[in-house]
């Protein structure tokens, strides 16, 4: 950095670099190390390689495990039906450790070493945001299943897409009418004091206001907190609804302590199931949630009116009617989010086939083909429901479920409309160069 003269302006030397590469790399001992295997140009029959950036370790690991299962099931279904454009699909998995720095390295590794066609996966916002520059620089399409508003905010870049799950801003907005009409007009919000919580902090009050309801208190809780009781006195006595969105391993504690604090005389509770993904709703201490309501992306429990597509999806992924792994009722899935992996992979399939995708040289075409998508119909490829897609902000919008905890199960009591969650685009990725 200190030396800025022309000496280091080697951008034009890419060619000589490559020549040197061919000459030397093969001859050096380095070539023996596993990472240094040279890949030949993909042939038309070679599988399409999808780099799967996965939370295998770190704080997101509980989600990661189910993202992996769902994606594997989707890939199997796609391959059983002939693959993408006649080519088989292969997932190449790298762990991002739920860490943004490692996330960026993993994206670079997919692009440059594994030479995957695209990168796919990952949930936690900071990993997506940390990885986005690497995707843009390597010009490799990056399909995320994160539900964060970051993609739609147009603060990332043209190579990042979120076509399989509705972003959180839209989710929140579409909850407001139901909350105001059914739960109460005076809402106290409890949310984690970091970005995921800020989306709720910022987007809920205006949405409720539009419905004639008010947020009367906002309680932010630090992400490192493991005990919550001391914050509860800040909940105003006139509160009619407590709106809670906690994530991370401490959420069970949060609910239990809320129960100890209020006992049976509690306000209405409305929460985002993010709090309790991968957690059995019948865990000791959660009895308190009985009768409360949750947002669910896709319902955890099988519903009486489930479509055939939904049933087939559940069977393919291997979850039972209670949303737990078949054969292990204690192994509860992250059903409300993981469907996004399934649907995203089908969007990739559609876009690749639309683009006539042959290999990495067609990545720009793939980006444009994805941006050209408008709607996804409900069906085996989109079992959660129909969606519209805005190619300018790279974000899809779908229906949301509101479920009530009844007899130890989550029962869907309301489905929102796509229109409930639409908002004015904040920018346009398509104006950026490819």
């Amino acid at each position: 950095m200190a030396d800025k003269n022309g000496f280091f302006d080697l951008s034009k030397k890419e060619l000589s670099r490559r020549t040197a590469l061919k000459g030397i790399a093969a001859g050096t001992g380095l070539a023996l190390a596993p990472g240094f295997v040279r890949y030949s140009q993909a042939q038309s029959s070679a599988p399409i390689k999808i780099g799967f950036q996965l939370h295998r370790t770190g704080i997101g690991a509980a989600y990661g495990r189910w993202y992996e299962k769902t994606s594997a099931a989707a890939v199997k279904a796609i391959n059983d039906a002939g693959g993408i454009g006649g080519r088989k699909v292969e997932l190449v998995i790298e762990d991002d450790g739920t860490d943004p720095a490692r996330g960026a390295e993993v994206v670079a590794k997919f692009a440059k070493q594994h030479k995957t066609d695209i990168v796919f996966g990952t949930l936690f916002s900071h990993v997506v945001i940390g990885s986005a520059p690497a995707a843009g620089e390597n010009k490799i399409p990056y399909f995320v299943v994160s539900e964060g508003h970051h993609v739609a905010s147009t603060k990332l870049n043209r190579y990042v897409f979120q076509p399989g799950i509705t972003d959180v801003k839209s989710q929140i907005q579409s909850m407001a009418p139901w909350i105001a009409a059914n739960a109460g007009k005076k809402v106290t919000q409890i949310f984690p004091d970091f970005a995921f919580g800020y989306d709720h902090r910022d987007y809920l009050p205006p949405a409720l206001k539009a419905q004639g309801a008010d947020v009367i208190a906002q309680i932010a809780i630090p992400p490192t907190e493991s005990s919550f009781t001391k914050y509860f006195p800040q909940i105003p006595a006139e509160t009619e609804v407590i709106y809670h969105v906690m994530v991370g391993p401490a959420v069970l504690t949060f609910v239990k302590e809320l129960g100890e604090f209020y006992g049976s005389q509690r306000p209405q509770l409305f929460g985002f199931i993010d709090s309790l993904e991968a957690v059995d709703i019948n865990s000791p201490g959660l009895e308190f949630l009985d009768g409360s309501h949750f947002w669910e992306g896709s319902p955890r429990y099988a519903q009486p009116d489930d479509s055939a597509a939904q049933k087939a999806y559940r069977a393919a992924v291997g979850i039972d009617d209670n949303g737990a792994a078949v054969g292990d009722p204690k192994d509860v899935s992250t059903a409300a989010h993981m469907f996004g992996c399934w649907e995203t992979l089908y969007v990739v399939k559609k876009a690749m086939e639309d683009a006539g995708y042959k290999g990495p040289e067609d990545r720009a075409k793939l980006v444009e083909a994805t941006e050209a998508l408008k709607e996804f119909a409900e069906g085996p490829e989109h079992p959660q429901g129909p969606k519209s897609f805005n190619g300018k902000i790279h974000q899809c919008f779908g229906i949301q479920n509101i479920s009530k905890v009844e007899g130890g199960k989550l029962k869907v009591v309301h489905k929102t409309k796509i229109e409930d969650g639409l908002y004015e685009p904040e920018g346009d990725y398509t104006t950026q160069a490819l």
Binding site: N5, T28, T57, E105, H126
Partner: protein, 320 residues
């Protein structure tokens, strides 16, 4: 002995820099990128080594200096639209100023208390980043757009997102810091630092103001770590609070101990080793942390002075 082989020492360091230069043209794409990252982070380790290896001050808070550089550079580009060189200087200045303030306070303590105090100041810094999320992006962080990461001097422009330009910039920073470290170590100042590590009381009784010398070392260390952070932000386009977490205070300690504390090249070797163990192990198993853990324990059992430290002890006594 100090002056036994200056020629050999300089030849070694210039040789390492030359080798890294050649590697740019030899390494496969992915490893070229990884090396750029490693060199940028090795600067972090070198800054840490200056304080830990040579002065013997074990800080558990260096993430704050790294992220002072990261945010100092990143936020000036993001919010103020500064150019890359100005932003880099801003980052280094932030780190140096922070180090001066922290040094004045923390140097009142020593030993384990110094460890804990630095760790706590770093924790405060981390929480401040979260608290001012409106500007810093909090835990999600901010993306520095590609268009902002271009150095333009006169008519020429250097695009830091180009892999070779990035590599060369990382190498330039690494080389400059390596040579600065070498110069410090071989200087009279370096001799005093080592003396403080070996016996502070005795050093005082030779007429040295050890507190002032330690403060100078803290500031130098903080500035170098901040240079690494600033480079990281500008080269890789992301700033986020995870770089200020305690994990990033432990990492440089680990890299330095692995490579060999109080060796000029140890930080590079340690960073390189740790990165490749993680990268290769994660290719074989998802339980790569296990392999990293076992590797650490084996290293410390059989190479207690780190890789270069052990080499120096057994074979090459002249290594600086």
């Amino acid at each position: 002995m100090r002056d036994a082989s200056p020629a050999k020492t300089y030849a070694l360091h210039v040789g390492v820099i030359a080798l890294l230069f050649v590697l740019n043209f030899v390494l496969p794409d992915y490893h070229q990128g990884l090396f750029a990252r490693i060199m940028a982070l090795a600067v972090f380790a070198m800054g840490y080594n200056l304080l830990f290896g040579y002065v013997g001050l074990l800080s558990l808070g260096h993430a704050m200096f790294f992220s002072a550089g990261l945010y100092g550079a990143g936020l000036t580009v993001y919010h103020l639209g500064w150019g890359v060189p100005e932003a880099f200087v801003a980052g280094v200045a932030c780190g140096a100023l922070l180090a001066l303030a922290i040094g004045l306070l923390a140097l009142r303590t020593s030993g384990v208390a110094f460890m804990i105090v630095t760790m706590m100041f770093a924790q405060v810094f981390y929480l401040l980043i979260l608290y001012f999320a409106a500007w810093t992006g909090g835990d999600q962080g901010l993306v520095i757009q590609q268009a902002s990461r271009v150095i333009s001097i006169g008519g020429a422009s250097l695009d830091l997102t180009n892999s070779t330009v990035r590599y060369m910039n990382a190498l330039a920073l690494f080389s400059v810091v390596l040579l600065i470290t070498l110069a410090i170590v071989r200087s009279r100042f370096g001799r005093v630092l080592v003396a403080i590590r070996e016996n502070e009381e005795r050093t005082k009784m030779l007429g040295y103001d050890t507190v002032a010398n330690k403060l100078a070392a803290v500031v130098a260390s903080g500035a170098i770590c901040a240079a690494s952070g600033a480079a990281y932000a500008l080269l890789f386009g992301y700033v986020g609070s995870s770089f200020a977490s305690v994990q990033y205070s432990i990492l440089p300690l680990l890299w330095v101990l692995l490579g060999g504390a109080a060796t000029t090249l140890g930080p590079l070797v340690g960073t390189l080793f740790m990165y490749y163990v993680t990268d290769i192990a994660s290719g074989f198993t998802s339980a790569y942390l296990l392999i990293v853990g076992v590797a650490l324990i084996l290293l410390v059992l059989f190479f207690p002075k780190g890789i270069l430290g052990t080499i120096r002890e057994r074979w090459l006594g002249w290594l600086p």
